[in-house]
């Protein structure tokens, strides 16, 4: 294998592919990136056995087609630190990968290409395509609510629901839930529900942009594959039953207030400074036209803020993890936010005034 390529042509796919590679590995070869050079195309593959990403790019010249695996992070760090527009050549010489650029030379270790695992190609049963911007919006609106390392492993991911003319994402960590849906021109019979693992979602969204260009999805029994132009992303699916979001979206709330989103967010962020660092509880005292936000910590320090709201019902007091509220205010698009409450022990609903494409359910904290 021997080829040359511009730093810029290599760096974008390499950075994305290296993102899949875990820092701590069980198999040494998993910290490597697989480089395959054909006469007119260069492809880079990274995997952690759960998620695989292949990026394709155009080399300047391929002298000798071939393949090799080299340490992903080191290769990326070297390319990043070379000067802009540098021309890079990479050659396999006596089992080592030699990178040359200008007056620099780096010799990297390699591992046999045959040891590099690929996620077995399952039978793709359903194929469809969505605008990239739509999928990106759905993921961005909900991914913050995914659990991390929860024993309920199916929560450490996102539910992707595809049905005719509708796509929906749902994420929850058991304390709060985010759901977002958008109409799309697809036809899927029967409807498909898949749980994509957390890491798969975070890597997938990096490949997407706000455009209407298509991302094509292939849904298999145990895998999902996404193609966007130069990238092919494959993720194992989480086998499990995702909680039914419809059962937790509250219906009976009678205390509805509307606040300026940016203002409320600032108020909560300031108050949070003096909340308990670990549990981050704040009290909301809702009364006619006003919301009082209070926090205190084990050192007995206190914060109190007042913010004007549109509200004319009975007064009530309720506690929340302030981080959960700030997360929601960070992803809503509208200038104003609507919050629906029932009582201090029942979940709150946050959404755009009148309801948008996303709904956020947050469970309170006991005061």
């Amino acid at each position: 294998m021997k080829f040359s390529i511009s730093r810029e042509a290599l760096l974008r796919p390499l950075t994305l592919v290296a993102g899949v590679v875990e820092r701590r590995q069980t198999l040494p070869v998993l910290s490597n990136v697989l480089i395959q050079a054909s006469t007119d195309e260069l492809s880079l593959t990274g995997t952690d056995l759960e998620v695989e990403l292949i990026g394709r790019t155009a080399p300047s010249q391929v002298e000798q087609p071939g393949s090799a695996t080299v340490p992903a992070r080191k290769l990326m760090d070297i390319c990043k630190s070379l000067p802009e527009q540098a021309e890079i050549s990479l050659a396999l010489e006596e089992g080592r990968a030699v990178l040359r650029s200008g007056r620099s030379r780096f010799t990297l270790s390699t591992l046999p290409v045959a040891e590099f695992p690929n996620i077995e190609e399952g039978q793709g049963s359903v194929e469809l395509s969505l605008p990239r911007g739509t999928l990106k919006h759905l993921i961005d609106a909900t991914s913050f609510a995914m659990a991390q390392q929860d024993v309920r492993y199916y929560l450490n991911g996102m539910l992707l629901e595809l049905r005719s003319n509708l796509v929906r994402t749902v994420a929850t960590d058991g304390h709060r839930l985010a759901v977002c849906s958008r109409p799309v021109e697809i036809s899927v019979e029967p409807a498909q529900k898949l749980i994509v693992p957390r890491k798969g979602i975070l890597e997938l969204v990096r490949l997407l942009d706000d455009s209407d260009e298509p991302v094509s999805l292939t849904l298999g029994a145990s895998h999902v594959r996404a193609h966007t132009g130069d990238f092919t992303f494959t993720s194992k699916l989480v086998d499990g039953k995702f909680p039914d979001y419809e059962r937790v979206v509250p219906r009976g709330g009678d205390k509805v207030f509307i606040a300026e989103r940016a203002e409320l967010r600032q108020v909560l962020s300031r108050t949070s400074i003096l909340s308990n660092e670990k549990y981050r509880g704040v009290r909301l005292h809702l009364e006619e036209g006003n919301l009082r936000v209070m926090a205190n910590n084990p050192e007995q320090e206190e914060a109190e803020e007042n913010v004007a709201v549109e509200y004319s019902g009975a007064a009530m007091e309720i506690g929340f993890n302030v981080g959960y509220l700030i997360d929601v205010l960070g992803v809503l698009d509208e200038d104003r936010v609507q919050m629906t409450l029932a009582d201090p022990n029942s979940s709150a609903l946050m959404e755009e005034p009148g309801g948008g494409d996303a709904m956020y359910v947050v469970m309170p904290m006991r005061l």
Binding site: Q149, D150, V151, R152, T172, G174, H175, R176, L177, P243, V248, N276, K278, Y279, G281, G319, N321, N345, S347, V361, M363, P364, M365, R366
Partner: protein, 350 residues
Amino acid sequence: MRKILHADCDCFYAAVEMRDQPALREVPLAVGGSAERRGVVATCNYPARAFGVRSAMPTAKALRLCPELVVLPPDFARYRAVSEQIQTLFTELTPLIEPLSLDEAYLDVSEVERFRGSATWMARWLKEQTLARTGITLSVGVAPSKFLAKIASDWDKPDGLTVITPADVDGFLRTLSVAKLHGVGPATTAKLETLGIHTCDDLRQRSLAELLERFGKFGRHLYQLARGIDEREVKITRERKSVSVETTFDHDLPDLAACRQALMPLFDKLQQRLARHDHPPSDKRFVKVRFDDFSLTSMESMGTASDPHGFQHLLEQAWQRGARPVRLLGVGVRLVPEDAQRQLTLFDEG
């Protein structure tokens, strides 16, 4: 100024046994596991201590030091009953009690008006009443802070009463060995001695910056204790952080298969213990392994208490670290802190 009592029963388990069988008073006595079962001494009486027997010492070693030592198996039900009697007595004085174990507690008597507010008289009363009602002798330390009260109760054991008044604190600390300080064990003592620090007075000569550099956060603790500063309050309820059970085996478990077999009875015992605590919510489980070379390792993971496979898996990982015969196995769970339980959940499944 606060008034704190530290009350400590003298060789408690042995004292209960001697009370019930007075003939044991005159002979060296230990309560603990038998030498055949590789037990350790939990408590021993003063005649046994004269031979060099100490608590936490393997019973086999204790018997080598003192061949005529009488070793009784512990009867925790009886000790617990006596402990409850003594606790009741404490509550007659103040509700601010922090029990540390069956035989030890802190009492905050700052606001007590009986005995004209004299903590010394209160301590005397506690000692008399404990002896009269239970036949157990108590050593009591009286001081303005927890760590000094604890040092004081140990000062004149058994049947001691040591009072450190606020005016005495400074003089008392000057000559106090650093080894007596809360949190200073043999390793820290040795480290302090290489620095030429033997007494709290030596410690006071060092700057906070130096102590922080050498001992990290613990340096601040040392700096404060040497000046008699200890603001820790008497906590009425101590939050339980974990529930666990462990066993030292009569014979070392030779391999992983034997360990796996031994795990199930421990797991069952853990379930019983959790049931006794009304199944508190837990979020992590752990396995502890002590190998025959006394090296200790533990493995922890997220998970529920009720899944035996999770514990088996942890055991396998922990065992690999030593891969040699095993002396002790323990299993347990970490409880979810009460503050964390204030967060309500969307789904009802555990």
